[in-house]
Subunit: 135 residues, 2 copies
């Protein structure tokens, strides 16, 4: 029954709306946090915008626009790729590392609060199931 699949997808959308609303920390939107976490995981080389687009499920265009304000705020910088003049690498600045580091605590607290009704096992289970969706 495909209708059940729709129900599940709608539940996912609802949960997402809830978390996106709750997870704004220190002047960073949830979308910005996702981007910064990705960059943090990419230390120290940084990530190419195209890779970020794939990881975050954005268009390359969306990555350009997302990086721009973060660059202006001095949280992110971009370096040209020495071997490929088309490409660049986005990295956290040292100020950016601090910002992300400071955000993790509060973000973790809010995330834990959102998942408070789930046991540790259920949380892990949820994560496993979610990871099956995007390939």
């Amino acid at each position: 029954m495909p209708t059940e699949a729709i129900e599940t997808i709608l539940a996912l959308a609802h949960a997402h709306a809830t978390i996106a609303r709750a997870l704004e920390v220190q002047g960073l939107s949830f979308a910005e946090l996702r981007l910064l976490f990705a960059l943090r995981a990419a230390e120290p080389e940084g990530r190419r915008p195209t890779e970020l687009a794939r990881e975050l499920q954005l268009t390359p265009s969306g990555v350009t626009r997302a990086l721009l304000p973060l660059e202006k705020r001095g949280i992110v910088l971009r370096e040209k790729d020495p071997g490929d003049a088309r490409a660049s690498h986005a990295k956290l600045t040292s100020a950016g590392s601090t910002v992300v580091g400071d955000a993790i605590g509060p973000a973790g607290e809010r995330a834990a609060k959102l998942l408070r009704r789930l046991s540790i096992g259920q949380t892990k289970q949820l994560q496993r199931l979610l990871e099956e969706i995007g390939r």
Copy 2:
């Protein structure tokens, strides 16, 4: 460890981005589909915008803006509440019912495809876990 909660939340965001991208059917965005499914569930009385906002985790303002193009397309209509002049009720038009009815098949197929790696039991489990998040 709150970091694990963040991981789960990030997995949820990733899954959501995947599904929102995949679930566009017949000229309707995923956000529009969510709204129309809510209205379909509210047949025949319709729903007040405020209720829709709560159900869909939008602001009332967002509901106003979401309804507008659907009204223009003749998919949704709004009636004044006879008992409360501030309020209105949004309903599917009969054309709208047809549109939603026609969308369910393809939407269900795509939803099922996204969940193809999960068994029926896992899908139900996922849904239960997700529903715990938004209260």
